[in-house]
């Protein structure tokens, strides 16, 4: 396998095993590309034994909490997170779908008040396998592709 052409980071977070093509969305959801933030690296279409192809995101100087990272569980359920201190992995965890999803998902119901008035969207996870969520406002449920289309 070719050597990974991405620099190692000294202090920060590495999000690995992101499904190929979803890396940019992960950066967007976690707001990693702030103007005054640390170095941000995205590797796309990296060979992966598990996934075939994967994306990797590395962010210098930020230690993401499990709660923060769980926000990406909807688009990258396979992701693993490594917290790096002094070039070494000090902590490692997998993302998990949280019980409540706030702010990142739009309701698919065009007549839902959350699509017309100022609100922060909120969904409750009804089931994890398969993933099914219920809108806090209109109470409609969404699953599968419908969730991904509304991220």
């Amino acid at each position: 396998m070719a050597e990974l052409k991405v620099t190692a980071i000294k202090e920060g977070t590495v999000i690995d095993h992101i499904p190929a093509g979803k890396g940019l969305k992960v950066i967007e959801i976690l707001r990693l590309n702030r103007p005054n933030g640390g170095v941000l690296l995205l590797a796309s279409n990296v060979h992966s034994g598990k996934l075939g192809r994967k994306d990797i995101v590395k962010v210098e100087g930020r230690f993401l909490s499990e709660e923060e990272v769980n926000k990406i569980a909807l688009i990258a359920p396979t992701a693993t997170v490594n917290i790096v201190r002094d070039y070494k992995v000090s902590e490692k965890f997998k993302v998990e779908v949280p019980d409540e999803i706030t702010g990142i998902l739009r309701c698919a119901n065009p007549n839902c008040v959350s699509n017309h008035e100022y609100t922060v969207s909120k969904f409750y996870v009804v089931s994890r396998e398969p993933l099914k969520v219920r809108c806090h406002y209109c109470e409609r449920t969404m699953e599968g592709d419908e969730i991904l289309r509304n991220l």
Binding site: C107, N111, V113, E117, T119, C135, H136, C138, T141
Partner: protein, 311 residues
Amino acid sequence: MDWKGRDVISVRDFSKEDIEFVLKVAERLETELNEKGSLDYAKGKILATLFFEPSTRTRLSFESAMHRLGGSVIGFSSAASTSVKKGESLADTIKTVEQYSDVIVMRHPMEGAARLAAEVAEIPVINAGDGSNQHPTQTLLDLYTIKRAFGKIDGLTIGLLGDLKYGRTVHSLAEALAFYDVELYLISPELLRMPKHIIEELREKGVKVHETTDLEGAIPELDVLYVTRIQRERFPDEQEYLKVKGSYQVNCSVLKNAKETLKVMHPLPRVDEIHPEVDKTEHALYFRQVFSGVPVRMALLGLTLGVLEGV
């Protein structure tokens, strides 16, 4: 049970104990009202009725309930005459209205509007219908009507007839009936079957559910037949509506094989799904059902206002 300041938004927010408590308070208020003629629990309190969408029964019944509790009512019955027309947000409208009132009853064409209003308002908000989502006070008055007619809900076999796909009334009622030991017959045209996820939920909660298109076959089994209108306004596709329009009509001939004690209910308004000849029979319970709206809404207003001490 402390209900003061509580919002009434969705049947999903209720426990069985909540439902039983409201029904009990409603029954006590009905008895007291019959004895005294009028009550004064809500004297000095103001109800704001915000109807962004037209309604006859629900609005009048809430207003009647508040007057019978000795309170007064302000409000509007169409969004056209309000600042919403000028582009005001729902949140601002609610924050304004709560300065003038002690409790808000709201109907709105958008799903989730009542939930949003409740988050914004400091005073209690009661949902009188949010788009095709919830209409919890209708569900409570339906349960109250059944309980008053049979003395119980457990053990009954209940048929839900008509538009089970889009009808919010039957969705909420089915969810609430799942708290009880009932058997349900879901009777509808193929195109208007109850959504699968609701049926799954009912079965998970132990309700025995039968799905059928055959009204006459189901009739002899039933203690209650809950009829709904097939609502043109809920159909995304006119063609789909025309295919199912007038699928069923409950008339004396359909009812000839029914139990003598069968009660027919309908949230009203009806179009042609119950023939007027049924009105004079012992089966008709739908006008009694309309009456139930008043004690149930008196109970909800009184409880959320926290003025029913001793009831």
